[in-house]
C-alpha cells in the first residue's frame, strides 16, 4: 500500500525533500546487513510505499508539493533532480506568487478556498497512481502561514474527500522563541483544526532536534538542513518497512493503519512523538558498538524521563509503584518527572533483532490506568539495518511528553489574545475571536485530558 505525501509551505517542502532522500538512501544503502533477497524485498516495500516508477527507471516520489510562493519549490525540485537518484513528478507541484505572510487566516481562508480545486486535483492524480492507497503524510510547520493555515485547510479537505484513508500530519513545532511572532496563534489554530480533521499528529520539536544536532551530531554551525536531516532520519526509522508480525518475513502492508490502531484510537489523544537511538555523526558511528539491551534501556529511560535524546537522561526517574496513589493528576506548575504513556510503539531494526528483550516496556506502571500494556504496547521489527546503524531503535509514543510545550503555547497565545494584540490581522481574513475561543477551548481540554491520565 502506498502513502501520498503532501508537502506544504517552506518548512514542509524542505523537510519533505530530506525525508524522501533519506528513505531512498537507506533503501539503497549497501550496508543493510542482510541477505540480497531480503534487501530486495525491503527495497520493493519501501518503493511501493513512497515511490512510483517511471519509464527510465528513476523513482518518483509519491508527493505533492504545495507552496504559495515559488522559491522553495523550485529549489526543492532542482535539488531532487540533481541528485539523479529520485525525483519529483513533473506535474506534482502547485505554487503561487505570494506567500501567506505568516498569517494562518490568510492560508486557511484565502489561499485555501481559492486554490482548493487545483490542489485537490493534484492530490487526486497522485492517489490514482497508487494501486492501493494507505493514507497521507501531510508535512507542515505550525508556526507559519502557508504550512499551518493551508495545511489545516487541505487536511480538512482530505478528510472530506478521502474519509476512509488515513491522515497523519507531520507537524514541526516551532522553537520556543524566535521564529515567528504570531507563532502561538498560528499554532493553536492549526492544532485545534487538525484535532478535528486528522487522525494523528506526529510532532517534531525544533528545539529538541536542534539540541540533537548540537549534542549528538556534534555540528557546530547548525543549519536548517542539518535539522531537517535528523528529522527525516527519525521519520525513516519509523516508516521504513518492518515485518508484518512476530515470526513473519512479509513486510508490513499497512504501516499507517497499524500504527494508528495501536496509538491513537482515542479522539482526545492524538499527539505522537518520536525518539530514536542511537543517533550520532557518521564519524563516531564507525567506532561504536551496541547491544539491544543497552539501547532499549536507554530508550525506555528516555521515554519515562521525557528526554528527547540519549544524552542528559535523568536516570533518577522511576515509574511509580503501581497501586500507590502517586499517579495522581499531573500538575503543570510543579516540576513533573515521570512521563506517563497512553500507548507506545517500538521499532527495532538490525542484527539479532529477535533477541531483543522488550519486557521493560510492558510494565503497567508506564501506562495510564485504563489501558493494559497488552493494548498499549506494540513492536515492529526487521532484520534489515537502518541507514548504516547496525542496530537501531525508534519509539513512537503517545504520552504526556507534549503537555508542557502545548501548555506553554496555549498560555502565551492566551496572554496575547487577552490583550487583543494581532487579532486584527486575523479578522481581516475572516478568523474571528470566536474561532480563537473555540481553539483555546479544545486545546485546554486536550491538555487537561493528558494531565488526567493517571486518574
Amino acid at each position: 500500500m502506498s502513502i501520498v505525501t503532501v508537502q506544504l509551505g517552506q518548512c514542509g517542502n524542505q523537510i519533505g525533500f530530506e525525508v524522501f532522500d533519506a528513505l531512498f538512501s537507506d533503501s539503497h544503502c549497501p550496508q543493510g546487513l542482510c541477505s540480497k533477497r531480503e534487501n530486495e524485498a525491503y527495497q520493493a516495500s519501501c518503493k511501493e510505499r513512497f515511490f512510483s516508477e517511471e519509464e527510465n527507471g528513476v523513482p518518483i516520489a509519491r508527493a505533492v508539493l504545495v507552496d504559495m510562493e515559488p522559491k522553495v519549490i523550485n529549489q526543492t525540485l532542482s535539488k531532487a533532480a540533481h541528485s539523479g537518484r529520485w525525483k519529483y513528478g513533473q506535474h506534482s507541484c502547485f505554487c503561487q506568487k505570494q506567500g501567506s505572510g505568516n498569517n494562518w487566516a490568510y492560508g486557511y481562508s484565502v489561499h485555501g478556498p481559492r486554490h482548493e480545486e487545483s490542489i485537490m486535483n493534484l492530490i487526486q492524480k497522485e492517489v490514482e497512481k497508487c494501486d492501493s492507497l494507505n493514507g497521507f503524510f501531510i508535512i507542515m510547520s505550525m508556526a507559519g502561514g502557508t504550512g499551518s493555515g493551508l495545511g489545516a485547510f487541505v487536511t480538512q479537505n482530505l478528510q472530506d474527500q478521502y474519509s476512509n484513508s488515513l491522515k497523519m500530519n507531520q507537524i514541526i513545532w516551532p522553537y520556543g522563541t524566535g521564529e515567528v511572532i504570531v507563532q502561538n496563534y498560528n499554532s493553536i489554530l492549526t492544532l485545534s483544526h487538525l484535532y478535528r480533521s486528522s487522525d494523528a499528529l506526529l510532532v517534531h520539536e525544533n528545539d529538541a532536534v536542534h539540541k540533537i544536532c548540537a549534542k549528538l551530531m556534534n555540528i557546530k554551525q547548525i543549519s536548517f538542513r542539518d535539522i531537517n536531516q535528523v528529522l527525516a532520519h527519525q521519520l525513516g526509522s519509523v516508516f521504513q518497512p518492518t515485518y508484518s508480525g512476530e515470526g513473519s518475513f512479509h513486510y508490513r502492508r499497512n504501516p499507517l493503519g497499524d500504527l494508528m490502531e495501536n496509538l491513537v484510537p482515542h479522539p482526545e489523544f492524538k499527539m505522537l512523538g518520536v525518539r530514536n537511538i542511537p543517533q550520532m555523526s557518521e564519524n563516531s558511528l564507525a567506532y561504536s558498538t551496541f547491544t539491544w539491551a543497552g539501547l532499549l534501556k536507554h530508550l525506555r529511560q528516555m521515554l519515562i524521563s521525557n528526554a528527547k535524546m540519549e544524552e542528559g537522561i535523568d536516570w533518577q526517574v522511576r515509574p511509580p509503584l503501581s497501586g500507590l496513589p502517586t499517579r495522581g493528576k499531573m500538575s503543570l506548575n510543579k516540576e513533573f518527572h515521570f512521563n506517563t504513556s497512553i500507548a507506545n510503539l517500538v521499532i527495532l531494526r538490525g542484527k539479532d533483532v529477535h533477541s531483543a528483550e522488550l519486557g521493560a516496556f510492558k510494565d503497567p506502571a508506564l501506562y495510564t490506568s485504563w489501558l493494559e500494556p497488552v493494548h498499549a504496547f506494540s513492536v515492529w521489527k526487521t532484520q534489515r539495518a537502518f541507514s548504516k546503524y547496525e542496530k537501531s531503535a525508534a519509539l513512537v509514543s503517545n504520552s504526556q511528553f507534549l503537555v508542557k510545550p502545548l501548555d506553554t503555547i496555549v498560555g502565551k497565545a492566551w496572554n496575547m489574545f487577552a490583550s487583543k494584540a494581532y487579532i486584527h490581522q486575523y479578522t481581516k481574513f475572516g478568523i474571528e475571536e470566536e474561532d480563537f475561543l473555540d481553539s483555546f477551548t479544545l486545546l485546554e481540554q486536550v491538555i487537561a485530558s493528558y494531565c488526567n491520565l493517571g486518574f
Binding site: 506568487k97 506567500g99 515567528v180 504570531v182 543549519s223 535539522i227
Partner: protein
C-alpha cells in the same frame, strides 16, 4: 514571485531613490553573473526589449535586454529628476514614469497635499496603474519621502490614500525622513505633523529615519576609516555609506546618508533571494504590527563596514548582533534597549546559520524588555545571499516604544509654532485647509503617543499570568 514598485516623492525621496536603484543594480549584477532575467531581478526591474516601439516590450524570461526600474518618480520641481535623467541611471527610467512640475511646493504640506494632489491625482494614478500592470503579482509599494518639506510630505502622504483606495491588497511601506531639530525649514513641524496623521491612517508600515542619526553614523564611519588604523583593513566596497567605493567621497553631502537608507530597503526586501528561512514582505507587518496604528518600526543596520580579513570569528558575528541593538546604530535617535519592545525582527543575510541566530537571541534577550504579552516577540529570517561586499549582514526592525520621543519632540516643536499661529496663513489660504486639519493632526499624534505611554506603563507592572479557561474534567 512578487514585485514591488518604488514611489519616490520630492527631492529627498528622489535622491534616496537614486541611490537605491544604483545599489539594487549592483547587487543583482553581483548575484546574477549570467545576466539572465530571473525572478529575483524581476521584483524591482522589468526587462524590456527596447527595439519594440511602444510599451509592450516586456520580456519575462531569457537574457537581460534592458532593465527598467519599477518606479514612479514624482517631484514638483524638475531639478533632481532631471539630474537623474542625465546621470548614469538614465537608462533605467523612462519619461513615462515621471511626474514633475516646475513650481515646487514651497515647503508647504498643504500645497503638496491639496493643490498638487488634486491636480495630479489622475496622472499619478495613470502611471501607478501602468506600473502595476507590468507586475505579475504586485505585493508592495515602497514610498520614499521626507516629512519636513512640501512635496514629499504633502504629495507623498496624499498618495497613500490614493493607493489604499486603488490597490487595497498591496502593502504600503513608507520610508519617512524626519527632520532634525535644527532643520532649516521653518514650517517643517507643521508639515511633519500633518503628514503624521496620514501615515497613522493609511500606511501599513512606516520606517522612520532621521537625518541626524544618519549623519552621526557617517561621522562614526569617517572616524574609523580616517583613523588610519583601520583604513586599509576595511574591505573595499563594503561601506554602507558609499554606492561605489572607488568614487570620490562626499560628492554630494547627502549621498552617504542616502546610501544607508537604500541599503535598508534592499535588506528589507531580501526575500528576493533564496534562503533557508525566507521572510516575505507581507510577514513584516504581520509579525511586527500588533495593533493597526502602532506600525512604526525602528531600524538598524549592521555591520556598517566589513574588514578585509576574510576570517570572521564568531565574536565578530556576535558583535554584529550586539551592535544592532545599540543606540548608535539606530536610524532614528532612539534607544530601544531602554524602552519596551512590542516585537523585533532580525533579518540576516549571508553565511549565518540558524544556530548563530539562536545563540545571539538567547544572549541578548536578558538585556531587552518585551511587552508582557509578547515576551518572545522575535521574528527571524535567513537569506543566503549577502549584500555586495559583505559576507553577512543584519537588519533589525523593532516595534519599540523608543520612537515615542521623536513624536513627542515633533509635537513640542509643532505646539511652539502653532501656539503663535506662525505661518499658519500660508496653509489656511489653500483650498480645503482648515484649522481643524491642524487640531485633528495634533490629536491623532497625541493618541498615538498615548498608546505608547500606556504600553510603557506596563513596564513597571509585574508580569502576571492571566487566568485561563478552566476545564472541568
Amino acid at each position: 514571485m512578487t514585485q514591488s514598485v518604488v514611489i519616490q516623492v520630492g527631492q529627498c525621496g528622489n535622491q534616496i531613490g537614486c541611490c537605491f536603484w544604483d545599489l539594487a543594480l549592483r547587487e543583482h549584477a553581483a548575484v546574477n553573473q549570467k545576466a539572465i532575467y530571473d525572478e529575483a531581478i524581476s521584483s524591482f526591474f522589468r526587462n524590456v526589449d527596447t527595439r519594440v516601439v511602444g510599451d509592450g516590450g516586456s520580456i519575462s524570461k531569457g537574457k537581460i535586454c534592458s532593465l527598467k526600474a519599477r518606479a514612479v518618480l514624482i517631484d514638483m520641481e524638475e531639478g533632481v529628476v532631471n539630474e537623474i535623467l542625465q546621470g548614469p541611471l538614465r537608462d533605467v527610467f523612462d519619461s513615462k514614469q515621471l511626474i514633475t512640475d516646475i513650481s515646487g511646493s514651497g515647503n508647504n504640506w498643504a500645497v503638496g497635499h491639496k493643490v498638487f494632489g488634486s491636480l495630479y491625482q489622475e496622472q499619478i494614478l495613470e502611471k501607478l496603474r501602468k506600473s502595476a500592470e507590468h507586475c505579475d503579482c504586485l505585493q508592495c509599494f515602497f514610498i520614499i519621502h521626507s516629512m519636513g518639506g512640501g512635496t514629499g510630505s504633502g504629495l507623498g502622504t496624499f498618495l497613500l490614500k490614493v493607493l489604499e483606495d486603488e490597490f487595497p491588497e498591496v502593502y504600503r511601506f513608507v520610508t519617512s525622513i524626519y527632520p532634525s531639530g535644527e532643520d532649516d525649514v521653518i514650517t517643517s513641524p507643521y508639515n511633519s505633523m500633518l503628514a503624521m496623521k496620514e501615515l497613522n491612517e493609511h500606511a501599513d508600515c512606516v520606517l522612520p529615519i532621521d537625518n541626524q542619526s544618519l549623519f552621526d553614523i557617517i561621522s562614526k564611519i569617517d572616524l574609523m576609516v580616517n583613523s588610519g588604523k583601520l583604513g586599509t583593513a576595511i574591505k573595499p566596497k563594503s561601506l554602507v555609506t558609499s554606492s561605489a567605493g572607488a568614487k570620490k567621497r562626499q560628492e554630494k553631502p547627502f549621498d552617504a546618508m542616502n546610501n544607508i537608507v537604500a541599503n535598508l530597503l534592499l535588506n528589507l526586501s531580501s526575500a528576493r533571494f533564496e534562503g533557508s528561512l525566507n521572510m516575505d514582505l507581507n510577514e513584516i507587518s504581520m509579525n511586527l504590527v500588533p495593533f493597526p496604528q502602532l506600525h512604526y518600526l525602528v531600524s538598524s543596520l549592521t555591520p556598517l563596514y566589513t574588514l578585509a580579513d576574510v576570517n570572521i570569528p564568531s565574536r565578530r558575528l556576535d558583535q554584529m548582533f550586539s551592535d544592532a541593538f545599540s543606540k548608535d546604530h539606530q536610524l532614528i535617535r532612539a534607544d530601544p534597549k531602554h524602552s519596551l519592545y512590542l516585537a523585533c525582527a532580525l533579518m540576516v543575510r549571508g553565511n549565518v546559520q540558524i544556530s548563530d541566530l539562536r545563540r545571539n537571541i538567547e544572549r541578548l534577550k536578558p538585556s531587552l524588555r518585551f511587552v508582557s504579552w509578547n515576551q518572545e516577540g522575535w521574528k527571524t529570517s535567513l537569506c543566503s545571499v549577502p549584500p555586495v561586499g559583505h559576507s553577512h549582514s543584519l537588519l533589525a526592525l523593532a516595534n519599540n516604544t523608543c520612537v515615542k520621543p521623536t513624536f513627542i519632540e515633533l509635537r513640542e516643536r509643532f505646539t511652539r509654532l502653532y501656539r503663535k499661529r506662525a505661518h499658519l496663513h500660508h496653509y489656511l489660504q489653500i483650498e480645503g485647509m482648515e484649522e481643524s486639519c491642524f487640531t485633528e493632526a495634533l490629536s491623532s499624534l497625541s493618541a498615538l503617543i498615548q498608546e505608547y505611554n500606556q504600553l510603557d506603563a506596563t513596564k513597571s507592572m509585574p508580569a502576571e499570568e492571566l487566568p485561563r479557561l478552566s476545564v472541568a474534567v
